[in-house]
């Protein structure tokens, strides 16, 4: 599972970075989104991958990290998801407004540099 996780992370990050370097605002927006996904998954993984273990301590099992999933990264990732979601939404609004005001989808508002 770790290998699968790492591969997914790698694919997400590299696509995100590639899109981020494109000249069109829409591509940049998608790139930021993918990068944010990759980061969120990474935060989640930093609590170690423990399948089938609950994050809340119960009376029956010993309160160690061997029998439980670490709840803190889950709380962190929740915050990070909300923030990155809001920021991406804001970026989308700015991209749309900029496209209207500058009559261009290029990040520098210069259409001649856009690939056909």
């Amino acid at each position: 599972m770790s290998l699968l996780f790492a591969l997914a992370l790698g694919v997400l990050t590299s696509t995100g970075v590639w899109l981020l370097l494109r000249p069109r605002t829409f591509d940049v927006l998608l790139g930021v989104t993918l990068l944010a996904y990759a980061v969120n998954v990474y935060i989640f993984a930093m609590g170690r991958l423990t399948p089938g273990a609950p994050p809340i301590i119960s009376k029956d099992t010993a309160a160690t990290l061997l029998t439980h999933a670490d709840p803190l990264p889950q709380a962190l990732v929740l915050t990070a998801i909300v923030i990155s979601f809001a920021m991406t939404a804001l970026l989308a609004v700015i991209a749309i407004r900029s496209a209207h005001a500058n009559k261009s989808e290029h990040v520098d508002a210069d259409d001649s540099e856009l690939p056909r």
């Binding site: 981020l20 605002t25 940049v28 930021v32 990068l35 944010a36 980061v39 969120n40 990474y42 935060i43 993984a45 930093m46 609590g47 170690r48 803190l72 990264p73 962190l76 915050t79 990070a80 923030i83 990155s84 809001a86 920021m87 991406t88 804001l90 970026l91 700015i94 991209a95 407004r97 900029s98 005001a101 500058n102 990040v107 520098d108 508002a109």
Partner: protein
């Protein structure tokens, strides 16, 4: 637990929310509430400064959790100083915006309060993830403030600024998550304690995370390879916002000063002095580049933007010498340069509005309204920014040259600081002569409108603050020196935080 500490975050949060509830109809109420809240924050920050100056480190445990599990706010001399600066610039910028620029934005005053909340929170928190959250709070309000009016160029620059900072946030999260994965905590005090005991196997990962954090803070501080966004963004920002943005790069510098002596300082074992070898060359080059950029700038406001870059470079150059003396000098310089740059931004806006078509361009010759008053004010501000006597700039530069005089790389730093100082003087002289010297006669002597009174009030407050900083240099320097010494001995803070216990309550 000292509840005054958390008030610096709660006060702007409450007044910001209240401003949203009040709605947008009555601008007078909004302005009054914003100014009142800023004044209250300033009074509170004076109280916090006195509290911190007693040498006591105040810890506030949010939600009454144990310090290594929950989030704690810590007030020491450095954070009290930063909160004080925030409150002062917040008040000045709010005053300036009352001149009419706040009418162009929706929710300007509410965003202003949220911006102050983010700044105060970032300066007070002692938890890395919480630092990230406050960074986002201050960033998202700064997007709103920066884009207000939604002008063409603002949107274009705004898109760059937001994307750049979003990628910065992603890197911040990667660094924070790696630190948590390796060490199992995010409280700075606990991290300092655990980093000291890192094993050989873990050290490379912690090192990678530490250096990644440095990249993030360098983005905020606009250090050398990552400074491109700053001069253009600041030149596109409305003046009141630019005044507050004089502090925004200092957030990055503050984070470096807070995190590196604490987590990777003298007692960090394998990872001791992680950032120092990087800071010296980066600081030197950033300083030089800021000076060259200021010299080459074609518009007044982007020139001031480059002065911001140069001042961040100077501070990190000083931080790289890593002694209590240089850190103290860096802090005094930070207070001075923030005020001087804020004053220049305020004057640049008044000059721009008085020049008609020519705006703040340094090439075109144009008539200027009220050249005598503006010229005198600009002259004083430029003297301060160029480090000429008798103002605080001279004292700051003398202090920092003295502090690094007998260090290893001191001679290179001396040469670089003096050369860039000369370039900055030349740049300011050039700007002054273009703006004031060879101007055609103004058509008619304009009387200041009621709106401009607010703007001149803001300028006067900044001028008084600069003069006060020069006249009261002795107590301020004493304070910053002790603050520098406190940074170099983080043990006191680590122990105070880790030993603090939640308040017990009867069930």
């Amino acid at each position: 637990m000292n509840h005054w500490v958390v008030l610096a975050v709660v006060l702007p949060l409450l007044s910001g929310s209240l401003l949203i509830l009040l709605g947008e109809r009555n601008i007078v109420w909004q302005r009054a509430l914003n100014l009142l809240s800023c004044a209250a924050l300033l009074a509170l920050s004076v109280h916090l400064l006195i509290l911190a100056d007693s040498g006591e480190i105040s810890v506030y445990l949010l939600g009454n959790w144990l310090p290594n599990i929950g989030i704690s706010l810590v007030l020491d001399r450095l954070s009290a100083l930063m909160v004080g600066l925030t409150a002062l610039l917040g008040l000045v910028g709010a005053l300036f915006s009352c001149g009419g620029s706040d009418l162009r934005a929706r929710w300007f005053h509410a965003l202003w309060q949220f911006q102050l909340m983010g700044l105060c929170g970032a300066f007070l928190t002692a938890d890395l993830f919480n630092l990230f959250v406050f960074f986002e709070v201050l960033l998202i309000s700064s997007y709103g403030l920066l884009l207000h009016g939604a002008h063409k160029t603002q949107l274009k620059r705004g898109f760059h600024y937001v994307t750049f900072n979003l990628v910065g946030s992603c890197l911040f999260l990667i660094a924070v998550a790696t630190l948590y994965g390796m060490l199992g905590t995010l409280s700075m005090a606990d991290l300092a304690y655990r980093i000291a005991g890192t094993t050989d196997a873990d050290a490379p990962f912690v090192k990678a995370a530490g250096l990644l954090l440095l990249v993030v803070f360098a983005i905020k501080a606009a250090l050398l390879p990552l400074y491109f966004w700053l001069p253009r963004t600041y030149a596109a920002a409305p003046a009141a916002v630019a005044i507050l943005f004089a502090l925004m790069t200092k957030v990055g510098v503050y984070s470096i000063l807070r995190v590196y002596p604490l987590l990777f300082g003298d007692s960090a074992g394998l990872l001791q002095d992680l950032a120092l070898p990087v800071l010296l060359p980066v600081g030197l080059l950033t300083l030089l580049l800021g000076a060259v950029g200021a010299f080459a700038a074609r518009r007044l406001r982007s020139m001031i933007g480059y002065l911001v870059v140069a001042s961040a470079g100077t501070m990190l150059l000083l931080a790289s010498f890593d002694t209590a003396l240089t850190l103290g000098a860096a802090l005094y310089y930070m207070v001075h340069s923030t005020l001087a740059v804020a004053l220049l931004f305020a004057l640049a806006d008044l000059i721009k509005n008085g020049r008609g078509e020519a705006s703040d361009s340094l090439i075109a010759l144009a008539a200027l309204d009220r050249p005598a008053v503006l010229g005198t004010a600009f002259f004083v501000a430029a003297m301060a920014a160029a480090a000429m006597p008798p103002l605080s700039g001279f004292l700051a530069k003398a202090l920092l040259l003295q502090a690094i005089a007998f260090q290893d790389a001191g001679i290179i730093a001396w040469v670089m600081i003096l050369i860039s100082g000369l370039l900055i003087i030349l740049a300011l002289v050039r700007a002054g002569s273009h703006l004031f010297w060879r101007t055609p006669k103004p058509p008619a002597a304009a009387t200041p409108s009621a709106a401009q009174r607010f703007e001149w009030a803001a300028v006067s407050v900044l001028l008084i603050a600069l003069v006060a900083l020069s006249v009261l240099a002795a107590p301020v320097v004493n304070y910053t020196q002790v603050a520098g010494a406190q940074l170099k001995q983080p043990d006191q803070m680590v122990l105070t935080v880790l030993k603090s216990r939640p308040v017990e309550r009867a069930p």
